[in-house]
Symmetry: C2
Amino acid sequence: MEMPAARKRAGTRERLLEVAEQAVLAKGFASTSIEELIAAVGITKSGFFYHFKDKTDLARALMLRYLEQDREILDGIFRRGDDLNADPLHGFLVGLKLFAEMLAELPEAHPGCLAASFCYQDQLFNREIRQLNAEGILAWRARFRERLETIARLYPPRGEVDLGAMADMASSLVEGGLILGRVLSDPSILPRQILLYRDLVRTTFTAV
Amino acid sequence: MEMPAARKRAGTRERLLEVAEQAVLAKGFASTSIEELIAAVGITKSGFFYHFKDKTDLARALMLRYLEQDREILDGIFRRGDDLNADPLHGFLVGLKLFAEMLAELPEAHPGCLAASFCYQDQLFNREIRQLNAEGILAWRARFRERLETIARLYPPRGEVDLGAMADMASSLVEGGLILGRVLSDPSILPRQILLYRDLVRTTFTAV
DNA sequence: TGTACATCAGTGAACGCGCGTTCACTGATGTAC
DNA sequence: TGTACATCAGTGAACGCGCGTTCACTGATGTAC
């Protein structure tokens, strides 16, 4: 089962990032030592510094990777929701359902979010990294808000609704649900939070 | 403005905990050095080890202090809500309003939650501390759930409602709202999340 | 097709610094008789 | 009221270990001619 040298080499940087992300979510960035990463991946310390100029560079790469993956996965899910249903409200509701189902089937026992981990250690990072994190959150606010506004034009809600807060609520519930799920070791919490959000969206925009 | 020696001594342990909590919320537990705590408080390193047997002991004390303070503050708020209104639904709604108002007026620029910080570094801590954290979350689930069930008996909701998830949602939104507020440096996010939760509770239990 | 050079993906050894922890000791206050 | 002892809240010096970083070097692969 020896991997050919070329194949082995190819993904070293990516494997470092993967191992690092898991470690950071479990122990935090400061306690994630370069030593343990290279041990897991099977290179020497100098090999690490070939791929990353210093530890801050690793943090930046982790953040970028996280933003990209996150965006890709969620975009895929909500686009599928739209494809399955032309109506913006029902497309979004389908997307939320798919999202909850995906979360319920995650293989990881205690999934986490790098944005949350970094935000509770943000003094360790420079402005660039904190800025990337903020942009990631703002991007989701904008995407959800746009959906909600489109929906609100078709289904004007009774009374005033704070669509900005409602857009943020999706992110809030993901972050909060992840924390509760971790602390209580209960992976069912997050999907149920999403389904409750889905109910909120449905009843907000449809008369009963 | 010299403090008398007796007065100065009295609160050393408490001052260590206060400084430590702020540092932990900003940088994480591992990066919070004993050295910086004693510098802030004005004792020597050995003085620290008089108050705490080791760094783990500090973590335990922080967790206990956090649980106690949290419970005291929130219990006070929701009890005031009940006192202002005999009806359980409207008492809870008043309590949520008061809670949102308190959060909006917090002096701290970027408040955080120790439970969240610890959960994203939980491999640093032993079973006892993780257990304390879980018990804290479970206590809030139980308290909110009890309220919601009392309300549901008086105001039976249309359709099925996952009261467990709805109880957790309060904690989720606090945790999530804190994270968004920190990452975006916007202290208005969390109170608005709570007010949206309040709307959800109101419309869930009252016919429109 | 063979040779020269460049790039890629690392190795190996050494470094200094900060951190948590230990240990023997101490001055001020409290308590027993 | 005075003395003996105990406890409280620390001091000061030393320790070893792990960590991030640097530096000179290297073998395998790719490219130019």
